[in-house]
């Protein structure tokens, strides 16, 4: 049965092109659908251009949601990338 799972994080840096790429590559490894939500904007985490189009910046809350058999693992992996890649100076 497909599970859904979500968790939020506050960005400590801007979501630039490189972290957006790393995030989309990581999201592609999961069979679950993965989305990112910032305010009223939502992006497909598997689409790098969609992720960049969020224009997410430091201090914003970003919600990672996944639906599918590996939803919890997918959310954990994306949160790790967001925490690492948007760290100040990364």
């Amino acid at each position: 049965m497909p599970a859904s799972y979500e968790q939020a994080i506050t960005l400590t840096g801007d979501l630039h092109a490189r972290p957006a790429g790393a995030l989309a590559v990581a999201a592609a490894k999961f069979s679950s659908a993965v989305s990112l939500t910032v305010g009223a904007s939502q992006a497909d985490a598997k689409s790098v251009l969609s992720v960049m189009g969020l224009g997410a910046t430091s201090g914003q809350h970003i919600t990672v949601a996944a639906e599918g058999p590996d939803a919890e693992e997918a959310v954990a992996a994306i949160l790790t990338i967001l925490a690492e890649a948007t760290r100040v100076g990364a």
Binding site: A17, R18, A20, V25, A26, A27, V48, L49, S50, G53
Partner: protein, 134 residues
């Protein structure tokens, strides 16, 4: 164990530096695991396109999972189409993407880095036309 082969990308531009720069950018964003081969300019180094350069690039880009070719404008499209029209000129499978050059190569390369097959890489490139920057 070596990872599964990735779809390769060829950038065909009138300008060698434009093709090289777009390849450099896409490699940075996608993490450097995908072959992105620029084929820009004429054989003499002028602005224009070269069938021979496209053929060499496609051969280099092919690691067994196929090649997606992104042209910039006009005769870049015609040069690739002429090669596609002759059997054996390009590796197979090969697809010509109808996509914006910069957004298309970034989307295609990230999809390829994630292990997408040639049809999914082509779709990612072509969906790039709908992506909003703002």
């Amino acid at each position: 164990m070596s990872p599964d082969p990735r779809v390769g990308i060829v950038l065909v531009s009138h300008s060698a530096t434009l093709a090289e720069g777009a390849a450099e950018l896409a490699a940075q964003i996608s993490g450097g695991t995908v072959a992105i081969i620029p084929a820009g300019g004429t054989d003499g180094g002028e602005l224009g396109t070269s069938a021979a350069k496209v053929q060499r690039a496609a051969k280099l880009a092919d690691s067994g999972a196929g090649v997606v070719i992104l042209p910039d404008l006009g005769s870049a499209v015609l040069t690739v189409r002429a090669l596609l029209g002759e059997a054996g000129e390009l590796p197979t499978p090969v697809e010509l993407a109808d996509a914006p050059f910069v957004e298309g190569v970034v989307a295609a390369t990230v999809a390829a880095a994630g292990g997408a097959d040639i049809n999914a890489v082509l779709a990612a490139a072509e969906e790039a036309r709908h992506a909003r920057k703002l």
